[in-house]
Symmetry: C2
Subunit: 170 residues, 2 copies
DNA sequence: CAAATATATTTAGCTGGCTAAATATATGCC
DNA sequence: GGCATATATTTAGCCAGCTAAATATATTTG
C-alpha cells in the first residue's frame, strides 16, 4: 500500500528542485495527493471489510457473483477482479470454507468450475453493502454533485495522461 | 491492489439501487473512479520501479535517506514509510545486499542501528528520480495549473469526508 | 541501585499476492 | 480420428506484508 507519511515540506522540495531541475513541484504535489488520499480510502475499505471477515478480493468476488446469479468460472472471477487464476483459486477456497459460495463442475466444460453465491453469501452482502454504500455516501458528502462531476473529469484526464505516458514508454 | 475491472454498468447500478435504496450512484461512481485511477497510477509506479529493481518501499526508504544524510534508525524508516519495524528489517536487508545503504550501530543507543545511503544508492536515485519526475510531469500534463489546484482541493474534501466518516464510526 | 517499564530490533509463523510448471480437457486442423 | 495447440485450474515455491514473541539495551522510579 502507498503510504508515505513523511512527505517532503516546501524547503525539502526546493532543495530537490536544484538537484533535479525537471521536477515540477505542483505536478508532484498533485500526484502525491492523489495517491495519498486514495491510499487512505483503500486502507479504510480494508478495515471496514475486515470487520466482516472479508478482504477486498473476497468482497468483489461476492459482488460479481451477485450480479451473475448463474455463476461464473474461476477464470472469469480472476479476470473480473484483476488477479491471476492461481490467486483466485485461493480466494475461492476461502469463500467456500466460509460457506459463502458453491463450486460445481461446469456441465459445458469439464475443465472448468462454476462458482455461485449461496444464500449465506447473499445474506452477508445484504448486511455489508448497505453499510458500505452509506459510508461511501458519507465520504463523498463534502462534494456537491457539480464537484463530483468535476472530480471525475479531472481524474479521467489523469487516466488519459497515464495512458499517454505509458504509450510514450517513458 | 484495488483493481476492479468489471465495473457495474448503468443497468446493473439501477438494479442495485432497488435492492439497496441508500446507494447513491454518483457517490459510488466518484469513489470507484478515484480508487480505480489511483490504482492504475500505483501499478504504473510499481512497474516503473521494478525496471530498476526497486519496490515502492525501497524507493521511499532511499528518498528518506537522501533527505537525511546523517542516517535514520530502522524505526524512523518504518514510521516514515508506514510499515512495521519487522517489515523494515526485511527492506533494509534487501537494500544492504544491493549495496545501496549502510547499517551501523548507533553510538548514542546501542539498541539501535543507523541506516544511511551509500554513493551507489545516491547514484541510483540520480538515475531513477529524473525519470520518475519526468513521468509524473507527463502524467499530470493534461491538467493546467488551475485544474491541478482544483483536483487537490477536491481530494482534500474527500480526505475530510473520510476523516468525518471514521470519527462517526460508520 | 535494582526492579519495572519502555524502546529498538529481529525472529517465527501467518496471509495473500505472484509466476512457472503440471494436469486435464477442448478445439482446430490435417 | 488423431495430433498440436489452446484453455481452465491447481500446485509449488517465492516475495513482502503483517502480528506476536524474543532479545537487548535504556530509562524511570521506589
Amino acid at each position: 500500500m502507498f503510504e508515505i507519511i513523511d512527505l517532503p515540506d516546501k524547503a525539502a522540495l526546493a532543495k530537490l528542485t536544484t538537484r533535479y531541475p525537471m521536477l515540477d513541484v505542483p505536478a508532484l504535489e498533485t500526484w502525491l495527493g492523489l495517491l495519498r488520499i486514495s491510499g487512505d480510502c483503500m486502507n479504510d475499505l480494508d478495515q471496514f471489510l475486515a470487520r466482516h471477515n472479508l478482504s477486498q478480493r473476497k468482497f468483489f468476488v461476492l459482488i460479481l457473483l451477485m450480479r451473475n446469479p448463474d455463476g461464473l468460472k474461476v477464470s472469469q472471477l480472476a479476470e473480473g477482479t484483476g488477479v491471476s487464476c492461481a490467486t483466485m483459486t485461493g480466494v475461492v477456497e476461502g469463500l467456500l470454507k466460509a460457506g459463502l459460495i458453491t463450486r460445481e463442475t461446469d456441465p459445458q466444460d469439464r475443465r472448468a468450475f462454476v462458482v455461485a453465491i449461496t444464500t449465506n453469501g447473499q445474506d452477508l452482502l445484504d448486511q455489508v453493502l448497505p453499510q458500505h454504500y452509506t459510508r461511501i455516501k458519507s465520504i463523498t458528502a463534502c462534494l456537491d454533485p457539480g464537484e463530483q462531476k468535476q472530480l471525475q473529469t479531472l481524474l479521467s484526464k489523469i487516466a488519459f495522461g497515464l495512458h499517454e505516458t505509458r504509450s510514450r514508454k517513458l
